[in-house]
Subunit: 194 residues, 2 copies
Amino acid sequence: MVSATRDRIIETADLLFYQRGFEATSFADIAADVGISRGNFYHHFKTKDDILDGVINRRLANTEQMLDRWEVSGSDPAERIRSFIHILIVNGEKIRKFGCPVGTLSSELAKLNHAAQSDAAGLFTLFRSWLKRQFERLGFADQSDEMAMHILGRSQGVATLANAFNDDGFLHREVDLMCAWLDDQISKIAAKNI
Amino acid sequence: MVSATRDRIIETADLLFYQRGFEATSFADIAADVGISRGNFYHHFKTKDDILDGVINRRLANTEQMLDRWEVSGSDPAERIRSFIHILIVNGEKIRKFGCPVGTLSSELAKLNHAAQSDAAGLFTLFRSWLKRQFERLGFADQSDEMAMHILGRSQGVATLANAFNDDGFLHREVDLMCAWLDDQISKIAAKNI
């Protein structure tokens, strides 16, 4: 039971940190949403930083699971990269409201000069390494990491502006452009290898 | 004298909101950095939202001045768009530390569901309208707004990842890619108009 309450606290904090921001979310906010007393709450977590650690670890685990699913469901590396690009549409409503959970947490922690900023950037690293592997399989060799960072950067920019302007049309247009960019890169490398 | 103190408060708050975030900056932080008593401070501003208004107006005015300078110093629209792309390098050190001031403020206010979010997005609109005008002059007609949003989005993504990974090499590579993209678009439209 203890660990079930702990999980509920982390799950609730994860949502509140995403929707309101880390700094703007208080212990009291989380306790109220979980529906437990502050005494019970403090039994599980002494500081907000402890909760943040739990939230980041939860996100890392969930991201790894998602990447594993894409690895299995995508019939080839290009299809898998398209799965990544399309989360912008799958999560479009949330992104327009609250931005990207990874980018906004990393940005906030960088400003707070928070020790956990590098852990939050670890979420980006998961996507980066996974994308890099897909580009390697497509034959991009030592360019693969740069390609991964390029597509990761573009998806971040789309999330920020779709959020700022609450613009769904922009989001869809940019997803199409990212997929066209991918096709174009693949054609180029195919032409080179003929 | 009254207005000089007011200006100093806004200037200081602008810097702190950028470096630490809006939510993480208190009245006391700003008063301490300006070096005035809380009584004097409250004489000028009653709420942090009033200060935020002042900060956004200051940023709008500064951005308009910068765009006017680029308008004059750039010999043609492509050169002016390159001035925009190159702020990523000019402000590279700050961006790697604190992200983009426009994007991070807009994202934070969206999460806070803050009434001033649309004012903060107005900073993006200044860049967007100015970029759109340059693309129109280059002959992109009704595609100009989409081109403006595309380049604005890419610069946002570069800022977010350069900040997350504190990566100067990535920042420079992506600036080169954005300039190459611009040249490519201009060549395409020139070919179409022959």
